[in-house]
Symmetry: C2
Subunit: 376 residues, 2 copies
């Protein structure tokens, strides 16, 4: 992506900082707490701390300096090891070098642990340390929720690669070349890289009939049979230049019993009815309630949300769910890319899930992936 | 594992709770914040909240009820969806049902975000909400650091599977059957499952000569050549019944330049000298300082720690590093299983890392894996 994209994002965010009177905003990504916002603002993929100043200046401390010099766009890049990977030591250096005026507001990540928050407050006693919900992280999440043209193009590519792989998988299951969960999952790993993707964006969930009743099968895939008599679920995502797809197919093999057929038809009905209202101006929760309604009429209950945004993270805003979280209601907007994934699970009959990625457009929506219930 | 193991662990922890006057301790595992302690106490692998009472009673709220009924040992199992996956709603229900006396101490995870901590305090205004460093999480981490017999046996199995795969990989690289990073990584995925493991415990890092200068290659593996002229790094872990191995081999192919040979000999020297002091009673930091000394004499610097504990998590206590964190110094103890992984990285010459898993025994140590610098 062009470096100017990152600079523009940092400048846009600085406008928000100015409105909020935040002098420095801190973002951190480490193995315990991933935050793709650093990639969003600099292109640097992981393991770093980023300081954004109200002037739009970006200072990146990266664990791997070699990687940063290749991938990152930032005004200053420092090796994070220089601060022993300690965010507070790095922060103190930056505050001093950048001449941040005392009593200024420094906003740290919303998910900063309480004991660490206390350490920040101690270390920055001359500043006002802010750690809150609905602050900087929420603002970045809102920015990331609406994809720009370059992001839509990359997501289309991730979806196209995934679609191609799904078509091959169906063929190879029919021809007997993919027989087990592992066969299917590793085929995806290989093909995705051959297609120029980074790989998968989460561990592929491939669950044959004996395991498809689990929402997220554990382990994600095993040595068991896939696509044999009954219901098998395949849920996978491809990561292309940072951006992800996410799709789920159900393979229904052999003659199904009436309970299984009923699950399939309810899932397809919920999918169809919800898709009709994946469009600008409709509340996201309304779509989730629509699907819930279909299931409750059928005396069933879906144990998870109906969908979620995708982008640099495989789960990001907006979250399409029916429970009222008390937060401001979200409305579908052009530029959002959101999954639609109704599912039903039964310990005896197995599971059915159907998931596609939906781009919200000015006129309605465009479905970017082409998952389906495959009859074998 | 026998259910009695879990009950014993919960009882042991309850003794600590009694000493600390904690009525209820809360553990949570979700996709943003993994905590294998729930698996340690109940066998349940993921996505749940666990309440342990001072009486040794365990109440598990699992997102996937089907999975819990198969895998978990707990006194009560509830579906987490009943509380909309909200830890505070689940906690209020448990506090009421279990008749926790008001003004009791309820300890929540150390990594609870500050804004969520405030919500807990609001919701449990009749109780004393504790969120601290060196509290419950540290105690569990200490318990987990010393492996019992069943854990050592499972880790041995994970290591044996990994060793077997490493031997096959060396053969298949020599015979030309594994040519690319993807070939090697997917071979591990397949073989690990065929051997009865859950799979890999982290994304395999397979970096050919053009990428081995990165500490953790990004993406972890790609379509590039592996094992061709120069230095290639392979870092992978096998997960067997929850327990992990972690090993790194370096493949040195063709004639190396003097700088590369020098990196290899320094890494081997640091490995050998540090291994001699991986034994009971020696401070963990001393081992890290020993390796640092070898490198600094060679005018080099290692940009990461020397090792870490392995178990239900691939990175857990003790952490073998030379920087003084101000925490109580850790000493090697029998029953610890710790990696030893010196490495050097150079943007021009590539990287070298050698990593094995070391069980600390009464008499010294036993190396459980057999990684080496492979000359091709």
């Amino acid at each position: 992506m062009k470096n100017s994209v990152y600079k523009k994002r940092r400048a846009d965010f600085a406008t928000w900082m100015a409105r909020e009177g935040i002098a420095v905003a801190v973002f951190e990504d480490n193995e315990h707490r991933r935050d793709p916002s650093i990639q969003y603002f600099t292109g640097h993929p992981c393991d770093a701390i980023l300081f954004l100043s109200i002037t739009g200046y970006g200072i990146l401390c990266a664990w791997d300096e070699n990687l940063a010099s290749k991938e990152a766009d930032a005004d200053i890049i420092l090796p994070y090891t220089r601060f022993s990977l300690n965010p507070i030591l790095a922060g103190k250096y930056v505050a001093e070098k950048a001449g941040v005026p005392v009593h200024s507001k420094i906003e740290i990540p919303e998910n900063t642990a309480y004991p660490q928050f206390l350490e920040y407050v101690d270390a920055f006693s001359d500043f006002d340390v802010v750690c809150r919900k609905s602050g900087a992280d929420t603002e970045v999440s809102s920015m990331r929720m609406i994809k720009d043209e370059s992001e839509i193009a990359l997501t289309r590519q991730a979806c196209a690669i995934a679609d191609g792989i799904a078509v091959s998988i169906e063929k190879k299951i029919r021809s007997g070349h993919l027989k087990t969960e592992t066969d299917v999952a590793l085929f995806i790993e290989k093909e995705s890289r051959l297609a120029g993707a980074e790989g998968t964006s989460f561990s592929t969930l491939a669950a044959g009939p004996s395991r498809s009743h689990m929402i997220h099968s554990y382990p994600p895939f095993g040595a068991g049979d896939f696509g044999v008599k009954g219901l098998s679920i395949l849920d996978f995502g491809i990561k292309y230049k940072g951006y992800t797809s996410d799709m789920t197919l159900t393979f229904a093999s052999g003659e199904l019993d009436p309970a299984q057929e009923r699950m399939i038809s309810l899932v397809e009905k919920a999918y169809g009815e919800a898709l009709e209202i994946y469009k600008p101006g409709v509340s996201v929760r309304e779509a989730a309630l629509k699907a819930d309604g279909v299931f409750s009429k059928g005396k069933k209950k879906m144990p998870h949300g109906l969908g979620h945004g995708i982008g640099l993270a495989v789960h990001e805003a907006p979250f399409v769910r029916s429970r009222d979280t008390g937060e401001e209601p979200q409305v579908f907007q052009p530029g959002m890319i959101v999954t639609l994934e109704p599912g039903l699970y039964d310990a005896r009959h197995g599971g059915v899930r159907l998931e596609n990625d939906v781009l919200i457009t000015e006129g309605g929506n465009e479905v970017l992936t082409h998952s389906k219930i495959v009859r074998l």
